[in-house]
C-alpha cells in the first residue's frame, strides 16, 4: 500500500496527497478530517445507506446561516471504476476550503450558498473496484453473482426507455424497477426534498472529455436550453488551463441516447442547471487514468465547475454581476420557439 499521508514532523501534521488515488477507508478518514479541520464551514451528513449498509456521506460546506440557503450539488464516484471522479471531488473540496478565507468571490459564495459534495456515492462498487477491475461500474448487489445496476439511470423519470438494458448482466442494466437501488433513492430523495434550494446539479464521471447537458433522451429539449450553453463557457475555462478540449453536447448527439439519468431527473424536478462532467481522457487510458494526470485533470475540471457555479451564483444573488456574465456567456437575443416540451408532457412519457 502506498504511503498516502506524509507526516511533516516539524509541524506534527498529516498532509493528504491529492495526486494519488485513495481507498474508500482513506476517503472516509479524509471526510472526517475535513470536518475536524474546518468546523466553522464543514459538516458531514449521512443521507442514505448503500446495499452493503455503508453510510452515504456528503460534506456540506458553507458559512453557517440560520436561514435556509441555496445550494450546489456535486456527486462523484457514482460509477465505481471512474476513480478520477472521487479524486476530483476531493480536489474541489480542498480548493474551495483553501480559498474562501482569502478570495472575496469564494467567500461571498460561501456566504450565499452551501456546497453539498458527495465524494463517493457508489461506495460498495468503489470498494469492489479495488479488488476486481472488470466489475466495478455499478453498485454491487451481489458480486458473487455480479448482478449490478447502472446507478445514474435509476431515476423514475422515463425509466426505462433507451440506453438501458433489461439484462441483469449488462453494464447498463437499470435495475428491477426505478429506484430499486438504495444509492439512487438516497440521491433522488435528497434532491426532491431540497429541490427549491438547489441551484445547480453536477455529477462527475469519466472518461470522454465532455460536458453533457440534458436530456439523454433524443428530441426532448429542456426549456432553459439557452442557459445551459453556460456549459460552453465552462469548456473554455477548462481549455484555458491545459489546452484540453471538452465537448459540450447532449448525450444522444455525442455519445448515445439514455433515459432516466440522475442529471435529467435533477433538471426535471426543477433544478435549473444540471450537467454531467466526463473527465479525461478520450479512451487511450480510459478508466485507468494514470495518477500523473490527476492533478492537471482536477485543475482544469475545477475551473470548469467553478465557471458554472459562479454563473449560477451571480444569476441568483447579484443581478449586476449576472448581466455581465450572461452577456459574455450567451451573447444571444431571441425567444425559443418550436419543439419545446413542457414538464407535464415529459412526465407522461
Amino acid at each position: 500500500m502506498k504511503l498516502n499521508y506524509r507526516v511533516v514532523q516539524s509541524l506534527q501534521q498529516l498532509v493528504y496527497n491529492y495526486t494519488n488515488y485513495h481507498t474508500m477507508d482513506e476517503i472516509s478518514d479524509w471526510i472526517q478530517q475535513m470536518e475536524k479541520d474546518h468546523p466553522d464551514v464543514v459538516s458531514r451528513m449521512v443521507y442514505g445507506t448503500t446495499y452493503e449498509k455503508r453510510n452515504i456521506t456528503l460534506l456540506k460546506i458553507g458559512l453557517n446561516n440560520t436561514m435556509p440557503k441555496k445550494a450546489i450539488w456535486m456527486d462523484c464516484g457514482i460509477h465505481a471504476r471512474e476513480w478520477i471522479s472521487p479524486a476530483f471531488c476531493q480536489h474541489f473540496v480542498k480548493e474551495i476550503l483553501g480559498s474562501y478565507k482569502t478570495d472575496g468571490k469564494m467567500r461571498k459564495m460561501f456566504k450565499n450558498l452551501d456546497f453539498y459534495i458527495t465524494p463517493v456515492l457508489n461506495m460498495d462498487g468503489y470498494v469492489y473496484s479495488w479488488k476486481d477491475n472488470s466489475v466495478s461500474f455499478d453498485s454491487i448487489q451481489d458480486y458473487s453473482m455480479t448482478k449490478s445496476v447502472n446507478l445514474p439511470q435509476q431515476s423514475i423519470v422515463m425509466h426505462p426507455l433507451v440506453g438501458i438494458s433489461r439484462n441483469c448482466c449488462s453494464d447498463i442494466y437499470s435495475g428491477e424497477r426505478a429506484l430499486s437501488e438504495p444509492e439512487a433513492k438516497a440521491v433522488t430523495d435528497f434532491l426532491s426534498a431540497n429541490r427549491n434550494n438547489i441551484l445547480c446539479f453536477l455529477t462527475i464521471h469519466s472518461h470522454g472529455q465532455l460536458i453533457l447537458v440534458p436530456y439523454g433522451y433524443p428530441d426532448i429539449i429542456p426549456p432553459n436550453y439557452d442557459e445551459l450553453v453556460v456549459g460552453l463557457a465552462a469548456a473554455k475555462a477548462i481549455k484555458d488551463v491545459h489546452g484540453m478540449d471538452y465537448t459540450v453536447e447532449t448525450p444522444p448527439n455525442v455519445l448515445y441516447a439514455n433515459s432516466g439519468s440522475s442529471r435529467d431527473f435533477a433538471r426535471l424536478i426543477g433544478i435549473p442547471f444540471s450537467f454531467t462532467f466526463e473527465l479525461r481522457d478520450k479512451g487511450q487510458h480510459g478508466f485507468t487514468l494514470p495518477e500523473a494526470q490527476i492533478q492537471p485533470t482536477c485543475e482544469e475540471a475545477y475551473q470548469g465547475a467553478l465557471s458554472i457555479i459562479t454563473y449560477v451564483h451571480d444569476k441568483t444573488f447579484a443581478s449586476a454581476a449576472y448581466t455581465e456574465t450572461a452577456t459574455l456567456v450567451l451573447g444571444l437575443n431571441g425567444v425559443i420557439t418550436g419543439k419545446i416540451l413542457c414538464m407535464e408532457c415529459l412526465m407522461r412519457i
Partner: protein, 287 residues
C-alpha cells in the same frame, strides 16, 4: 467549439435534428490524395470510388457533424483497421479527430462512411497527419465486420524497425517466458518494461474490436488483464493474452482470450480469439 456558435444560432429556429447546418456536399470525388503537412512525414492515400448508382439506384448522401457520435464511431473503426495492418509493440495509431464525415447509403451493400480525419502514432508520439478513408458497414441479420479502405505508403513503417528488432531479439532469447497482469493497473501505472506489451495487446485487440464493430459500438482496450509468453514458433514470438474491451455505447466490458504472434517482418497476427463468459444471473431477465 466554433461549431457550437452555429448551434446557438440554429437553436432559435429549434428543430432538434437541424442542430448541424448541412454543408453543400462536394460533387467531385476525392480521388487519390497525397497528404504531406508541414513536417508530417506520413501519407495515407485515399483509395476511393466515386459514388455510382447501381441498377438505377440513387445513392443518398448525408453530411455528418464530425463531432457527433456517428463520425467518431466510424473514426474509431478506421483506427482499429490501421492498427491491424500497421500496429506493432512500437506503433499504435489513434484517430485524434474527425474533420469531415458523410454517409452514403449503398443499398444492399450497406452504409458507407467517408471520413477525413487526423491520425497519429501514439506509441512513438509521431506527428499528427491528416488522412481520409471509407468505412462500409454491411447490412444483414448476421453481424459482419465493417470493411475499411485506405492505402498507406511505406513511410508509415519507418523509424521503428531498430527498436522492433531489439525487442524481438531480447524476448526470443530471454531466460524465462514473460508474464504479467493488469496493464495498466488501477492507478493507471504501467511498468516501463511492460509498455510495449500493452501496445502489442492494443494492436491484437484491434482485430477483435474491428470484428465486433458496428454503427452502434465504440470500442477501446480498457486493460490487459494477463499476458503470458508462449514458445517461439516459426520465428514468431507468441503470447496468450486476456484483455478487457470496453464498448462505450453498451457500456459493456468484455473479457477476451487471444493467442497472438508477432515478428518485425510479419507483424501482429491473431491466431485464436475467444469471448470469455461474463456472469451468471441469479434473477430472471425481464422481457
Amino acid at each position: 467549439m466554433h461549431r457550437f456558435c452555429s448551434v446557438c444560432v440554429v437553436l432559435f429556429s429549434l428543430v432538434w435534428p437541424c442542430l448541424v447546418q448541412p454543408q453543400t456536399p462536394t460533387s467531385q470525388p476525392l480521388g487519390l490524395t497525397s497528404l504531406h503537412e508541414g513536417n508530417c512525414s506520413c501519407a495515407l492515400r485515399l483509395h476511393h470510388t466515386e459514388p455510382t448508382s447501381q441498377e438505377g439506384l440513387v445513392m443518398t448522401s448525408r453530411e455528418l457533424n464530425p463531432q457527433f457520435y456517428e463520425a467518431s464511431r466510424a473514426g474509431r473503426v478506421v483506427q482499429h483497421h490501421l492498427n491491424t495492418l500497421y500496429g506493432s509493440p512500437f506503433r499504435v495509431y489513434v484517430v485524434t479527430q474527425v474533420h469531415t464525415a458523410r454517409t452514403e447509403d449503398t443499398g444492399d451493400d450497406g452504409m458507407k462512411y467517408v471520413l477525413e480525419f487526423s491520425v497519429k502514432d501514439w506509441a512513438s508520439e509521431g506527428p499528427e497527419c491528416k488522412a481520409s478513408a471509407e468505412v462500409l458497414y454491411p447490412r444483414g441479420d448476421v453481424h459482419q465486420p465493417p470493411k475499411v479502405q485506405s492505402s498507406p505508403d511505406g513511410l508509415l513503417q519507418a523509424n521503428t524497425s531498430d527498436k522492433e528488432q531489439a525487442f524481438y531479439q531480447r524476448y526470443s532469447a530471454a531466460a524465462g517466458p514473460v508474464s504479467a497482469k493488469d496493464i495498466p493497473d488501477s492507478y493507471g501505472h504501467i511498468d516501463p518494461e511492460m509498455e510495449h506489451f500493452w501496445h502489442l495487446a492494443w494492436v491484437a485487440s484491434s482485430f477483435i474490436m474491428l470484428n465486433e464493430s458496428s454503427e452502434n459500438t465504440l470500442y477501446s482496450l480498457a486493460q490487459v488483464a494477463k499476458v503470458t509468453q508462449l514458445n517461439i514458433q516459426d520465428g514468431q514470438l507468441r503470447f496468450e493474452l486476456q484483455v478487457l474491451l470496453h464498448d462505450m455505447v453498451s457500456q459493456n466490458i468484455n473479457r477476451w482470450k487471444l493467442q497472438v504472434s508477432w515478428s518485425p517482418a510479419d507483424g501482429v497476427q491473431v491466431l485464436e480469439m475467444e469471448l470469455l463468459p461474463r456472469c451468471h444471473c441469479k434473477s430472471q431477465t425481464r422481457p
